[in-house]
C-alpha cells in the first residue's frame, strides 16, 4: 500500500523504527526493574545487583545483534561459501573455486591493479594532504582553502566519476575537444616544452620512485644476509614478499619508462584516455586521490597544530631553514598520524568499487578486486568464486585489522 509513496513509507519507518528502539529500551528496562528483579520486597538488594548485571546486555542487544548478524556471521559464511559450488547444490568442493580463480587472467589483472592502487593512492593522497596542511597552516585564508580542497569528500564516487569522465572525454578528430585533458593534449606539439613536461619530468619521477622502492626493498632483504639481524622464521616470508613486490614494481616502472622514450608520444591525436592500458589505471586513481586528499589534509592539519611550538622555535634559533623544519622537526613528530592516514586510505582503496564500475567496469585492463567480485557475483552468478575473491580482499585487510585492534587495546590499558 505504501509502494507508490516511498517518502511516506520512509517517514512511517522512521517513526516506527525510532519509536520501537526507544520503546524497546524503555520497556525492557521497566520489565527488568519492576517484574523480573523488583527493587523491593525480601530480596531487594540481590535483585538490584542482578538487574544491574543484565542491564548492559539490554542496552547492547540491538547493536550486538546487528554486528553479529550483518558483519560477523557473513565473514564465516563467505568463507564457507568459497569452498562450495552453487551449480552442484552447494556441495563442498575444497579449494576448487580458488584454483579456478587463480587460472583466470582477469583475477591476476585485478590483483596487479589493486597493488598499484594500494601503493599509488595512499602515497600521493597523503603527500598532497601533508603539503596542503603545511602550506595552509599559517596563511589567513587557509581555512577557506582547506574547506575547498576538503569538499570532494562530500561527493559520491559515482558523481566524481561523472566529473572526471567529462575531463577525459574524447571527440572525433574534426570536432572541438570538450574534455580538458584532450584539449591540453592537442595544444602540445612535441616541441621542447612538451618533451620536458611529458618525457623528462615523468622519467625523473619514475627513476626517483624506482630508487625509493629499491632502497625500501633492500632494507628488508638485507636482513636475510646481514649478521646480527632478527632472523626469526616468520619474518622471512614477509621479506621475500616485499622483495618480490618491489621487483615487480621496478619492472613495471622501467618498462613504462622505456615505452615512454621508445614508442614516442602520439602528439596531435585526440586520445581515448580510459582505454590506454596501464595508464588508464592512473586516470582512475586520480579520481580517488582527488577525493582522499581532503581527508588526509584534515587529519594531518590537526596533527601539525598539535606539535609543541617549542620544538619549532628551538629549530629556528638553531638556524634551520623552513624545509629542514618541516622534514626534520615536524614530519617525525606526526609520523604516527601519517601512518593512521595511510592505513585508512589503504582500507578505502581496497574496497574501491564505484569508480571502476562507473568509469570502465574493468574493461581495458582496469579490473580491481572489488569489481571483479561484483562481476562474478551478479553477472556470472558464481557465488563460489565471488566469495573466494571476497576472502582475498579480507586477507589483504587482516593485517590492518590486527594492527588496529592491537593499538586500541594498548591504548585502553
Amino acid at each position: 500500500m505504501f509502494s507508490n509513496n516511498s517518502a511516506l513509507y520512509g517517514l512511517t519507518v522512521i517513526v516506527i523504527g525510532v519509536g520501537g528502539c526507544l520503546g524497546y529500551f524503555f520497556l525492557s528496562n521497566l520489565f527488568l526493574d519492576k517484574v523480573l528483579f523488583p527493587a523491593s520486597g525480601p530480596n531487594a538488594g540481590r535483585n538490584i545487583n542482578r538487574a544491574n548485571m543484565i542491564r548492559p546486555w539490554l542496552f547492547l542487544f540491538p547493536a550486538l545483534f546487528a554486528l553479529v548478524v550483518y558483519l560477523a556471521y557473513p565473514v564465516f559464511e563467505t568463507l564457507r561459501l568459497s569452498f562450495t559450488d552453487r551449480d552442484q547444490g552447494g556441495a563442498f568442493v575444497g579449494l576448487a573455486n580458488y584454483r579456478q580463480m587463480m587460472d583466470e587472467p582477469k583475477f591476476w589483472e585485478a590483483v596487479q591493479n589493486n597493488m598499484l592502487w594500494l601503493i599509488v593512492v595512499p602515497a600521493i593522497s597523503t603527500a598532497f594532504g601533508l603539503l596542503v596542511a603545511q602550506l595552509t597552516d599559517r596563511i589567513r585564508w587557509g581555512n577557506l582553502a582547506k574547506s575547498l580542497i576538503f569538499m570532494p569528500m562530500a561527493i559520491s564516487f559515482v558523481g566524481a566519476s561523472v566529473i572526471f569522465k567529462l575531463i577525459y572525454d574524447t571527440r572525433p578528430e574534426e570536432q572541438n575537444q570538450i574534455g580538458i585533458l584532450n584539449a591540453i593534449w592537442l595544444k602540445l606539439d612535441g616541441g621542447i616544452g612538451s618533451i620536458l613536461m611529458l618525457q623528462v619530468l615523468p622519467s625523473i619521477l619514475l627513476i626517483g620512485f624506482v630508487v625509493i622502492v629499491a632502497s625500501v626493498a633492500w632494507s628488508f632483504v638485507r636482513g636475510i644476509i646481514a649478521k646480527g639481524e632478527d632472523k626469526s622464521v616468520w619474518l622471512l616470508p614477509l621479506r621475500l614478499l616485499v622483495a618480490g613486490g618491489a621487483l615487480w614494481l621496478i619492472w613495471v616502472s622501467i618498462s613504462s619508462l622505456l615505452g615512454l622514450w621508445i614508442g614516442g608520444l602520439p602528439y596531435g591525436e585526440a586520445q581515448t584516455w580510459l582505454t590506454i592500458p596501464l595508464w588508464n589505471n592512473f586516470f582512475l586513481m586520480v579520481v580517488l586521490i582527488w577525493i582522499q586528499t581532503g581527508f588526509a589534509m584534515v587529519i594531518l592539519s590537526a596533527a601539525l597544530r598539535g606539535i609543541p611550538e617549542e620544538t619549532v622555535e628551538a629549530a629556528i634559533i638553531d638556524g634551520a631553514n623552513p624545509f629542514q623544519i618541516f622534514f626534520k622537526i615536524k614530519v617525525p613528530q606526526i609520523m604516527g598520524t601519517i601512518v593512521v592516514v595511510w592505513t585508512t586510505i589503504t582500507l578505502t582503496v581496497l574496497k574501491v568499487f564505484d569508480i571502476v564500475f562507473a568509469m570502465t567496469n574493468g574493461q581495458w585492463e582496469t579490473q580491481v578486486l572489488a569489481n571483479y567480485m561484483y562481476d562474478k557475483l551478479f553477472r556470472a552468478n558464481d557465488w563460489g568464486i565471488g566469495s573466494a575473491s571476497a576472502i582475498v580482499i579480507m586477507l589483504l585487510v587482516t593485517p590492518i585489522l590486527v594492527w588496529n585492534v592491537y593499538n586500541a587495546r594498548k591504548e585502553m590499558k
Binding site: 519507518v13 548492559p56 547493536a63 562530500a154 584539449a183
Partner: protein, 382 residues
Amino acid sequence: MASIAGKKSALTWAVHISVALLVLLWLFPTIGLFVSSFRTADQISSSGWWASLFPAEQNEVYRAADPDDNRVADGDMFVVKGNIFEGDPRDIRSWGVSSRNVSAYQPGETAEMKDGESVTLQADGSYVWRGNDKQLSGRGQRIFITATVPPEFTLGNYTTILFSGSGQDNMAKAFFNTLTVTIPATIIPIVVAAFAAYALAWMEFPGRALLIAAVVGFLVVPLQLALIPLLRLHLGIGIGKGYLGVWLAHTAFGMPLAVYLLRNYMVGLPRDIIENAKVDGATDFQIFTRIILPLSFPALASFAIFQFLWTWNDLLVAKVFLIDATGSTTVMTNQIVELLGTRGGNWEILATAAFVSIAVPLAVFFAMQRYLVRGLLAGSVK
C-alpha cells in the same frame, strides 16, 4: 635582518600562490560539471565548458525560405527574400553556401554560384537569393554561418531532469527514493548505537574490553564479505530486495563506526555528573536520555553526517539489497551509472543529473563541516 625578512616574504608569496593553484586545481573538475549543467546539448558538444565563459564562435546552418511559395519574379529571374534568423539574431562573422567552405564570405558580400545564381547575406541575417526558374525550386538554399554567440546559460536541463524528462532522464523519483533510503538509515543506527556506546563507556560488565576490541575490528571488515550471505539471508527469510533490507544493511554497516565514535566521546564526559545523578536515584535509562544524550550532541552530529554522506553516496549496498529487476526503487547513484552507459555522450543530461545528486551532500557538507572534521579526527583509529 633585512635580507632574512625579504626572503621570508618571497617564501610567503610562494606559499600563497601554490595554495591558490592547488585550490584551483581541486575546484576545476567540479566547476566543469557545474558549468556544463547550465549549457544546452549543442553548446556542450561544440566547445569545451571553459570556453563558454567567453563569447564563442559557433557554426550554424540555416535554409532560405521555400522557393516554391515565396519567390517573386524579377525580370526573367526570381528572387527570394527573407531573414535567416527568425527573431533570434546572431553576430555573423562569416558565411558560405557550401559545406566545404562555410566561411567563404563576409556579411554584405554576394556569393556567386553557377549560372548566375547568387545569394547576398547582410549582417542582420536578411538575404536575397536570386536565380532562374529551375534554380529557385525545390528546397531552400542552405546558408552556413559562423557567428559569435555571447555566453549563454539555461536552466532547461534542470527542468528536464527534475520535472519534464521522461523515463531515465527524470531523476525526481530516484531523488525521493534516495531520501527514503537515507533518512531512516541515518537516524536508526544513531539510536541503537548510542545505547550500546553508553553501555560500553559507563557500565561495568565482564567482556567489555573484548567487545570494544571487536568493534574496532569490525570497523575495517570489507563490505564485500557481507554481500552474498546477507542477500541469501534476506531472500531466505522473505525480506527480499527492498527498503527494509537496505535500511537494515546500512544500519548494521554503520554500527561499528557509530559505536566507536560515540563510545570514545561518552568516555570523556565528566564522571561526577553521572555519579551525582546515580546518587540522586536516577536509573541508567534516565541518565542516558536526560544527561548523556544531550551532552553527546557533537558526536551524534558527527556520526549523523558520516552516515548521511555514506548512505546518500552509496551505490553498492543499494544495488545489492534494494534495486530489483523492475528498477522502480532505483537510487540516484544507480541511475547516473545507467545514464553513463546509455547516454554516455549526452553531457547535458549527465552533468545535470550528477549535480542534482551532488548538491544535497555539498549543502550538508558546507553547513556542518565543523562536525564532520571533528568526527574524522575522532574516528581514525589511533
